[in-house]
Subunit: 346 residues, 2 copies
Amino acid sequence: MALWAVVLAGGSGTRFWPLSREKRPKQMLALTGRRALVAETVERLSPLVAPDRVRISCGRPHLRALQRLLPELPAGAFIVEPAPRNTGPAAALAAAVLRREDPDATILLLPSDHHVAQPDAFRAALASAAELAARGHIATLGLRPTRPETGYGYIERGEPLDDAAGRATYRAARFVEKPPYERAVEMVAQGSYLWNAGIFAFRADALLGEMERHFPDAARAAARRVPGRAYAALQSISLDYAIAERSDKVAVVPAAFGWSDVGSFASLPEVRAGDVDGNVFEGRALLLGSRDCVVLAGDRPVAVVGATGLVVVDAGDALLVVPRERAQDVRKVSQALREMGLKKYT
Amino acid sequence: MALWAVVLAGGSGTRFWPLSREKRPKQMLALTGRRALVAETVERLSPLVAPDRVRISCGRPHLRALQRLLPELPAGAFIVEPAPRNTGPAAALAAAVLRREDPDATILLLPSDHHVAQPDAFRAALASAAELAARGHIATLGLRPTRPETGYGYIERGEPLDDAAGRATYRAARFVEKPPYERAVEMVAQGSYLWNAGIFAFRADALLGEMERHFPDAARAAARRVPGRAYAALQSISLDYAIAERSDKVAVVPAAFGWSDVGSFASLPEVRAGDVDGNVFEGRALLLGSRDCVVLAGDRPVAVVGATGLVVVDAGDALLVVPRERAQDVRKVSQALREMGLKKYT
């Protein structure tokens, strides 16, 4: 089995403003304090996937910056989307490109902006998913939920499949989009629901076959040697909506590997060590009588006095202060800046 | 009566870091959003005191900056303290200097870093104090307390004196230093206690007479043509301790004129207009879903999202974040910076 990986680095988000900007989205930030999330994602695949079998799916505006962040990858490792059309079209394009290179290609498809605390367990789960993929399934990892999170999608596991690499695996019974809180509590208590982390494994030809059934425009656009205009004309739609919720070939591999989607500044304490008062900080942060704060400073001193649960970020040319429990609202800042005529800071 | 004013601008404080620094203490900051507090203090005296009768008492390190902030005053308006020795010695020196210039000088002595919302009422109260001073009293303004403040000193009014400028005035019965909370509540309820704002009126010769009785070293040092070494050898002591609490000539003029000592960032809403959500801000402050915040930004955008009662200050080379109710603790930052080897930011 020839195992490939496609890391989806086309995303743009606004929840890490002022660190993230249009030209520097979240996956380019060293939010764990080490390398950019996208670089850690590539590192984490080794030794399961050889570096020469890793591909990065991204948009033209981010290509150069990603190449600088990933000097270990050759120029041919980057699959440039003609236009940002979400993960459905991106997966089709990557599958078409790799099938030309290797008609037997089995592909691991992964987000570029997540964190994994236990890489060995992560790779073992991917190996199980790859085994299901080799048997023709569209496999997805299902994370055991640890809280009634309303910001994630859930997958209900269905009938058992044969074990893959010594692990119990299942057909996917259904997908549930971000639920209301009460429904999330029920699903977590019920035990057969797993978090959808957007991590897939499939044979290139199997995915393209499902695309032809459920999203034929994407299959056709991806099959072109120069997909530009046909691709740009596609609907912007996630792989979950386009295929996973419709295909009868979807399997789920339950797993747990210290996963975090690093959804906002509030989640940094999940991926970085803090001090005895629960503060996570870098740079010239002065925390005086403060606890449970996230303070990202640079050379400039940032004094945080007598505060609890605050996020303070100095990005050099712009600053953010937000209570941790309101960190999701940071995405509103970009729009507000545009309305104030301050687009250059977005 | 020849009425003079001496504005005490020798203070150094650390509660407005990062705006205030060793070389730029609070009185030099435009905390009301208009001019530096010291400049507003001088402006506010007119027309009661002619500008050519205003003197600024200050230390050598602050002289040039104060001259720049007060271009309306001639070089001779600055009385330079040989060393910082608090308001007792500073008052003695100013009285000695002015008595040489005008043996009949009556002096209004004022802090340089307070705010007054009602300048007409303020000048009327000063006129009453000046009238008592002309009769030989050491007069002080007593502000009607509006809350059981534990950060101020209190003056108990004693037996009535003859009215001054149509206003009821009193002997001062005693001074109470910053009281515990329960005592403050009692004093406010009791009705005969007034806040001590450190604003005095006296004849130069009367003050120097009291100095000779209660603080003779200061009287002698101030009388020298070159007071340098003798002055530097004096105790550092406030005029309250040195004279007001000891002299039997002290009178008090009850008054109310929208006074604020602008004690910390938390008090800025007392001296600046806010928006409908109670936020006070300047510069590129983006307040999204925030209320009762004080945000002082410059050109750099400062986004404050979903916060209540926070102070955020961007001074360009350093930043502060503190909940309003902890704003007093800002004075601890300077020491922490020194301990971190970052004295240049103090």
